[in-house]
Symmetry: C2
Subunit: 430 residues, 2 copies
């Protein structure tokens, strides 16, 4: 039996504790699978005194996190600190510069600095692994990097944020509005005190940009992801969507073709027959479409102590086995850098919801704007006025270019009849 | 750029042709991903003259398939001949004995001879890879061997045979009987002329035994898989199951615990809320339950030219990258060999369908047998007699040990009231 893989662990929050528990609980099995033991030798975190429910006395405590990178008794550093810059990035650079393996769950850092770190890893011949950064316990990084590696991938998309999916699922089940369900999720610890990274789609965009790079063999391009969150989805949207045969999901979608690289995070209407419609609660799921394999679908738990620890330790096992290679599936020099594709020419059906005043001529005004922009209407539902006198108008357009729908909304900008921001969601007809 | 990985391809049926097409179509992309080109240099098949729709003139033609193993210009042999023994096994042994990489889609050979071949691969330090042997294009071998490697897996199960799932889905959609749908599937080329390997569950059992070995770290034990197929499922079973909130699926399920290793292939009632209920047509899907990751679900196309070629070439890319290790996730010497677990003590609900004569006392006779065996009935449906005078009696039991249900059926053996073989299906309450 080869000697143990010696690990330095930075960050002792929920996931850090999970990694320690996993390595304890499954130690014998992991040693059989990895061909050698995987042992934590040193840990580092901000607060030494906090009780984390695991015995830390067996590990060296390191006050200066970056010192984990330079110890001679550490083969691999696991970073669970978080944040795209700061101590996490300092640690990553220092570890890879020393030629040591680096494992992280940090999607923000990979989305922003992944290329730099991959270059450092290549230069040093070191492993840079980040399975836990996307979709938690689902081995989707491995699925794209290796499982689907023989395919040209045309599209990769999925439900990548458990908090948003929990909120949308609960809104649907309990017919409640966004703010109320969010507040409850925060009280239960399912949503952060500052939830904007999740609910405004930034977290999904981080993950999407990583998936896109792996799927298409392109450089990370987080900056060109169009991002919209779920803040403006109301209970009525979900109810109307359901009546029309859809569920509302926050979908991150990336597509690569001759028009360039398209990346968008957006609440979408997903047909009930599509596998993403069945991804409920805090589950995550990813779909990849390959030119030979067809549609691959992977679902599982996208966050939390156990699933994230599972992904972190899977990376460590790959390292212990010596089964690893370029972080983005190919050397950085081989990655393409396509131009971002504009959304305007994309064709599809759209869902529109208007809150309007209950008076004559409103419907004529809105339908005229649609006609003048060249958008044809597939179905239209007008509900009777609610107690506050506002009327809900919901429509699904026929397939048309997105710019036409945007133009129709532009024409209605400033209308006195429309009392609230219109809601636009794309329909996932794939 | 390193020199190309040179491949010898044995077997030029649908999948062999697919591998050639894939390596042609995606050549540039594969070279970027693998870090080197993957090139077929020689091919071998029974019939040299058959038109396969691909240009074979660029490859050396080898009449004696086994000669692929001994050529100095071949780094990896791909075996797509099929059959658990015969030329496929001869080629596997010869290739691994020479220390060359061996890639196969041959589930029967792996299920029967996988341990011997893994030992040969280990002794020679060669790769033995078989992603295409289970669930076609879905990277489930990799998912278990690597993606979920940090977990103790309690249970692995899935829909592993596309032909059976196509037949069951079509029976459900078109409310038609088994024999008719099978005949049509054969005419369309979706089922083999001799379909017994598929419909009697043997193919699923081959795949299940492979998944079980990877999931649990145990030696392959195909011999102890309990196997039942879908031949006796009638349209009425599917309709009644649907009325009760279930779909009928041929499920291969393996479970490992202190009672031993349990492996069974059986038509099951799957609750509509379970992801396997949404696996329709010829799709395949696999569920693995890990002690940290929770439930992982992977779905995709389980057979056919493109998906199978995708899996074969993914294996070649791993080999080209040098990212491979023990075939069953750990050295053969580390694999455990648990005793097979008996089905009798398993607890669960069961579906029973009796075809009975339309006369007094029948219901009393059957319900008495259930009572005497200690099986309590959750729901019971009796339909009015059909034109031929037979009556359908369907029941769902409360959770009980399987031996009790078997005992009830034994008590009814030889009954004059029961005019056809009773149907027993287990309910997948997981």
């Amino acid at each position: 039996m080869a000697r143990a893989l010696r690990v330095g662990l930075a960050g002792l929050g929920t996931v850090g504790g999970g990694v320690i528990k996993l390595l304890d609980t499954n130690a014998a099995l992991i040693e059989r699978r990895a061909g050698r033991a995987i042992e934590i030798v040193a840990v580092s975190a901000r607060d030494r005194t906090r009780d984390r429910g695991v015995d830390l006395s067996r590990f060296d405590w390191v006050d200066d996190t970056a010192a984990l990178a330079t110890r001679d008794d550490i083969d691999a550093v696991v970073e669970l600190i978080g944040g795209s810059d700061g101590p996490a990035l300092v640690l990553a650079r220092a570890t890879l510069a020393r030629g040591r393996a680096f494992v992280t769950a940090n999607k923000a850092m990979i989305a922003h600095h992944g290329i730099e770190l991959a270059e450092a890893a290549e230069a040093a011949g070191a492993a840079l692994k980040y399975e836990a950064a996307v979709a938690g316990g689902i081995p989707v990084i491995k699925g794209l990097r290796e499982g689907a590696a023989a395919n040209e991938i045309g599209r990769v998309y999925g439900v990548l944020n458990g908090t948003c999916n929990y909120i949308l699922s609960t809104m649907e089940q309990e017919k409640r509005d966004f703010a109320e369900v969010l507040a409850e999720a925060q009280a239960l610890g399912y949503a952060e005190a500052d939830p904007s990274f999740d609910i405004d789609g930034v977290d999904t965009a981080h993950k999407l940009s990583i998936l896109a790079s792996l799927a298409f063999g392109t450089r990370l391009d987080f900056g060109s992801v169009a991002i919209d969150g779920i803040r403006h989805v109301i209970a009525a949207d979900i109810a109307e969507a359901h009546g029309l045969g859809f569920r509302v999901r926050l979908v991150g979608l990336a597509e690569s073709n001759s028009k360039g690289l398209f990346q968008r995070v957006h609440p979408c209407l997903v047909p009930l027959g599509h596998p993403l419609a069945h991804v409920t609660g805090s589950l995550n799921a990813v779909v990849a479409e390959g030119n030979f394999v067809g549609r691959l679908f992977m679902e599982g738990r996208g966050a939390g102590e156990g699933p994230t620890a599972s992904a972190v330790v899977a990376d460590l096992i790959d390292i212990a086995r010596g089964e690893f290679g370029p972080a983005f599936a190919m050397p950085v020099a081989s990655l393409a850098q396509p131009a971002p594709a504009a959304a305007g020419e994309r064709r599809g059906r759209a869902y529109l919801r208007f809150t309007v005043a209950d008076r004559p001529g409103v419907l004529a005004e809105i339908t005229a704007a649609m006609r003048d922009a060249g958008v044809s209407i597939e179905s239209l539902i007008q509900r009777a006025a609610t107690a506050d006198g506002s009327v809900l108008l919901v429509m699904v357009t026929h397939e048309s270019p997105e710019r036409a729908v945007i133009e129709a909304l532009d024409r209605l900008e400033g209308s006195q009849s429309i009392t609230d921001r219109p809601m636009l969601m794309h329909i996932l007809d794939i």
